[in-house]
């Protein structure tokens, strides 16, 4: 078992390094000379050469790469000129807001999505559930930010039931009122995110469930006289969920894209909003820092899901 874990960990390391190298390459692929930009138009060639030497930009590329990696390991991701803060501090400050939104949306989508997937798979001949499948297919295709805009239009602008943007109101509540206010602001962004993710989970679970239900051991379980609910939820679901976990892990990148766009539409002060602002200001240190951190986070999440998979399905460990 530990051999499996060790192997997966070892595989994750070159992946992480690969991401770092990729970021480095992209930063250096940008057209334009940063030294010329920094030094200004009036500078002499001598000053530029001096600046280049001071910044270490005259060293060979592999030396720069090593220095870059060393800096990252020490937590130095660069400095943001737009926000006036070190990049790492900036990103860490915005993370809790994003985590709140993400956690809420994911928990709801997972529970409802899996349930929907199971039901549409087991009641596949009923027209109502078929309609639900089609609805899921449609919900999966809608661009998240557009859905967000429409929801804002309907609920916040037209009916004025819910706030339009932001995470908290200007009044500055405290205590219970603060949490209620937070909750009110959470509703629309979560709804937007849930619609897409729920559809994704439902589709995946349904596809996986359909394959599992066709297996022989399900027939045996039914023949043994177990209730349909028992067969489905205790026996079939376990096997059906395994590929779902893997695919979700692989799709984390796509889901992140959804989060980023939705945060922007709703003015939620998290990482997505940060991305939008940084892109608008062409603040490359922040953008590449975000890319690096999110990629590493996804790699870590994939590692976790693989390890989880190894615990749940013993066959994988010896492959």
């Amino acid at each position: 078992m530990s051999r499996y874990w060790g192997r997966r960990l070892l595989q994750a390391i070159p992946l992480s390094l690969g991401v770092v190298v990729l970021t480095f390459v992209l930063i250096h692929a940008a057209p334009g000379d940063p030294v010329a930009t920094l030094a200004g138009e009036q500078s002499t060639a001598q000053y530029q050469a001096q600046l280049r030497h001071d910044l270490g930009l005259d060293r060979p590329l592999y030396v720069q790469l090593v220095r870059y990696v060393a800096a990252i390991v020490r937590g130095n991701l660069g400095y943001s000129f737009t926000f006036g803060q070190p990049v790492l501090a900036l990103i860490l400050a915005r993370t809790p807001a994003t985590l709140l939104l993400m956690a809420t949306a994911l928990v709801i989508s997972t529970i409802l999505g899996v349930a929907l997937g199971v039901e549409t798979a087991t009641h596949a001949r009923s027209p109502w559930w078929n309609l639900a499948s089609v609805a899921a297919a449609i919900a999966y295709s809608l661009p998240a930010f557009w859905v967000g805009e429409i929801l804002i239009l309907i609920f916040a602008v037209q009916f004025r039931w819910l706030p339009i943007v932001g995470m908290t109101s200007l009044e500055g509540y405290s205590g219970l009122a603060h949490w209620l206010d937070l909750g009110r602001h959470l509703v629309l962004p979560t709804l937007t995110l849930v619609s897409f993710n729920l559809a994704l989970f439902a589709r995946l679970t349904r596809a996986s469930m359909l394959e599992v239900l066709a297996q022989e051991y399900v027939v045996v379980a039914r023949a043994k006289g177990l209730t349909p609910r028992n067969v489905v939820y205790k026996h079939a679901l376990r096997s059906a969920l395994l590929p779902v976990i893997t695919i979700v892990g692989l799709n984390l990148g796509t889901m992140l894209a959804g989060f980023v766009l939705v945060e922007t539409v709703f003015g939620w002060p998290g990482l997505g909003r940060l991305t939008f602002d940084a892109v608008g200001a062409r603040d490359y240190p922040v953008i590449s820092g975000l890319f690096l951190l999110t990629s590493e986070a996804v790699i870590a999440a994939n590692l976790l899901t693989d390890l989880l998979y190894g615990i749940v399905d013993p066959r994988v460990r010896y492959a």
């Binding site: 595989q11 070159p14 992946l15 690969g18 991401v19 990729l22 970021t23 992209l26 930063i27 692929a29 940008a30 057209p31 798979a121 596949a124 001949r125 297919a137 449609i138 999966y140 295709s141 809608l142 661009p143 930010f145 557009w146 805009e149 429409i150 804002i152 239009l153 602008v157 596809a207 359909l210 394959e211 239900l213 066709a214 692989l250 984390l252 990148g253 796509t254 992140l256 894209a257 980023v260 766009l261 922007t264 539409v265 991305t275 939008f276 892109v279 608008g280 062409r282 490359y284 953008i287 590449s288 975000l290 890319f291 999110t294 990629s295 996804v298 790699i299 994939n302």
Partner: protein, 261 residues
Amino acid sequence: MLGGSIVALLALAALCAPLLTPYDPLRRGGLALLAPRAGHWFGTDDLGRDTFTQVLYGMRVSLMIGVTSAATAVVIGVLVGACAGYFGGAADDVLMRLTELFQVIPRIFLLILMVALLGQRLVVITTAIGVLSWPGTARLVRAEFLSRREAEYVMAARAIGAGAARIIFRQILPNSLAPVVVNGSLLVGGAILLEAGLAFFGLGDQNTISLGQMIYAAFPLMRDAWWASLFPGLFLSLIVVAFNLVGDGLNEMFNPRALPR
């Protein structure tokens, strides 16, 4: 199939755009911010351009981006998957690590970086999306190749002296195309959504109209002109839904196990 007919209809509409509307999509000068009415079915935007016309032309661009990126992704994916699946061993390991790397990275961030750094032109956007979407196809093709590698017809081809390339392209690949086609159709939808996302960040190609860019432009107008964001988004969704339905339909056709019993 419902999806197929929708795609056909929309493609037709996009192609016939000049015939369906007397307006020039880029021409300003009309009355700005008109609600939908007789002469302007979808209203006008803040510069007086007719939204219906823009949607029609925008569909062209979005469709083209989607199909081209998906095609690029499929070509790269097939090549990588075929080599990994057929040759196995070290080549397989290296290619799979590469595939994992590209699959795990959140595409939106890499896309933003690439487009912001390399330029906001249509070519760059299309190529970048294609380059970031191939891992799924590669895995599918690799799985197909791994299972077909030891088939008898492959052994026969080897026995008569066929080289690796010939075996790959003329023997195994034609049999493996079914899941690739399904995946390709889903890729088109994904590519179109990615481009729309990019446009939403303001990173679309400024010289062309695409549906994503229309949504981006309509964002600040939301309160006054709901039609400017509703219609492009509606048609964008319609295109993506159509392609996804086509993909689902093809999947059911090729894979009977996925059908409900």
